[in-house]
């Protein structure tokens, strides 16, 4: 039991290194509490790796109900997130800490 558990730990620790290089990258930048670009087109039916760079000094939380994603990005930090595979459509997202300005949409085609 203990061996299986430690094996599982090793596998989970190694997996991201193996899988991250092959994925297509999409990038969002947060600046002045706004997303850039505010509209991002991605292919439908594919798993996507997205990086979010926060150029503000304050932290932000990328959040999307329709994508069912939530991710903290530290001030002047970068975070990666996997989304999809998505059905074609519009998926709105926002920055939870600055909802008034930080709004955007992902369009899957």
């Amino acid at each position: 039991m203990k061996n299986i558990f430690s094996l599982l730990l090793i596998v989970t620790a190694l997996t991201p290194v193996a899988s991250s290089a092959a994925d297509a990258d999409y990038k969002l930048v947060i600046k002045d509490h706004r997303f850039e670009p505010a509209e991002l087109s991605v292919p439908a039916g594919k798993k996507i790796k997205m990086s979010i760079e926060n150029k503000d000094a304050t932290p932000e939380e990328f959040e999307s109900h329709s994508l069912n994603r939530e991710k903290l990005v530290a001030g002047n930090g970068t975070a990666s997130i996997y989304i999809g595979p998505l059905e074609p459509g519009r998926y709105e997202f926002f920055g939870e800490f600055n909802k008034e300005t930080a709004q955007g949409v992902i369009i899957a085609k």
């Binding site: 989970t12 991250s20 798993k47 932000e60 329709s66 069912n68 903290l72 930090g77 800490f97």
Partner: protein, 271 residues
């Protein structure tokens, strides 16, 4: 200010619900309050540290360190809650008897208390670090609205604590005959919900397959960001758009803990 109150309320509510249920479930265990406060303090200190090292955690494991961290924290909490329920299944009757009398003291009470401390600490750690970051962001940003927003945060926090406490007080009113069965069921659902959330983080980090995402979409009938949705999410792990893998985790934990409880509750027989 109102927006701030809601964000903080959401974070605090999850921790408060967990603490309310676990405190009720450990009713009658000696020295419980001390351990609870120790867990709270450890969680608060820990959330400050986690908030300060957000960037370091995030960049760990090629950018998915945050998900890994959350999943591990949740995983430990699930194990602890499972242990609690199995332990309760074998000692519950004894505890119920003693809780009725004044002197409630169980020899194994200490291990049960450390479980309480760890679960409370982890709940505060996970939800608290986000609140700390959020409030720090407000305080750091210039403009006169910061004070009003921090005030909003305080209101949100108090409201969250009030709900958690009401849950606790409400649970204590359940007649002793059903009390441990009721709290046991709540802890079971809490653990299953945490397992589903852990799976959600591992999917977001691409460490496990989603297997149908989403499996269903009930967001128009019962949105997860509405008050009822938030409550159900904290209580039983409701997710409006769950991935198939989340449901598998949920059901697996339900089944495994229930089996453990059944086995533990059986009178000792030679096998």
């Amino acid at each position: 200010m109102f927006g701030t109150a809601i964000i903080v309320f959401r974070e605090v509510l999850e921790a408060a619900i967990i603490i309310g249920i676990v405190s009720a479930a450990t009713r009658g265990v000696a020295g419980r309050t001390r351990w609870l406060i120790a867990g709270l303090l450890a969680g608060l200190i820990g959330s400050g540290i986690v908030a300060a090292s957000t960037d370091a955690i995030a960049s760990f494991a090629s950018g998915v360190g945050q998900e890994l961290f959350n999943a591990i924290v949740l995983g430990i909490a699930v194990l602890m809650l499972a242990w609690h329920n199995v332990w309760m299944a074998s000692h519950g009757a004894e505890l119920a008897k003693k809780a009725r009398t004044v002197a409630a003291n169980i020899s194994e009470g200490r291990s049960e208390c450390s479980i309480l401390m760890v679960v409370v600490g982890l709940a505060v750690l996970r939800e608290g670090s986000e609140t700390v970051l959020f409030l720090y962001g407000i305080a750091a940003s210039e403009g006169g609205s910061a004070r009003a927003m921090l005030f909003g945060g305080l209101i949100g926090m108090l409201a969250g604590v009030a709900v958690g406490y009401s849950l606790y007080a409400g649970l204590l009113r359940i007649p002793m005959r059903w009390f441990f069965a009721a709290t046991g069921a709540l802890v079971l659902l809490l653990a299953a919900g945490m397992a589903s959330t852990a799976a959600h983080f591992l999917i977001q980090a691409d460490l496990i397959p989603a297997l149908a995402s989403p499996l269903w979409d009930s967001s128009s009938a019962l949105p997860e960001n509405g008050l009822l949705g938030i409550l159900l999410h904290s209580l039983i792990g409701y997710d409006a758009r769950p991935a198939g893998m989340q449901v598998i985790f949920y059901v697996a934990v339900l089944v495994v803990i229930s089996l453990g409880m059944k086995l533990a509750a059986k009178p000792r027989k030679s096998i």
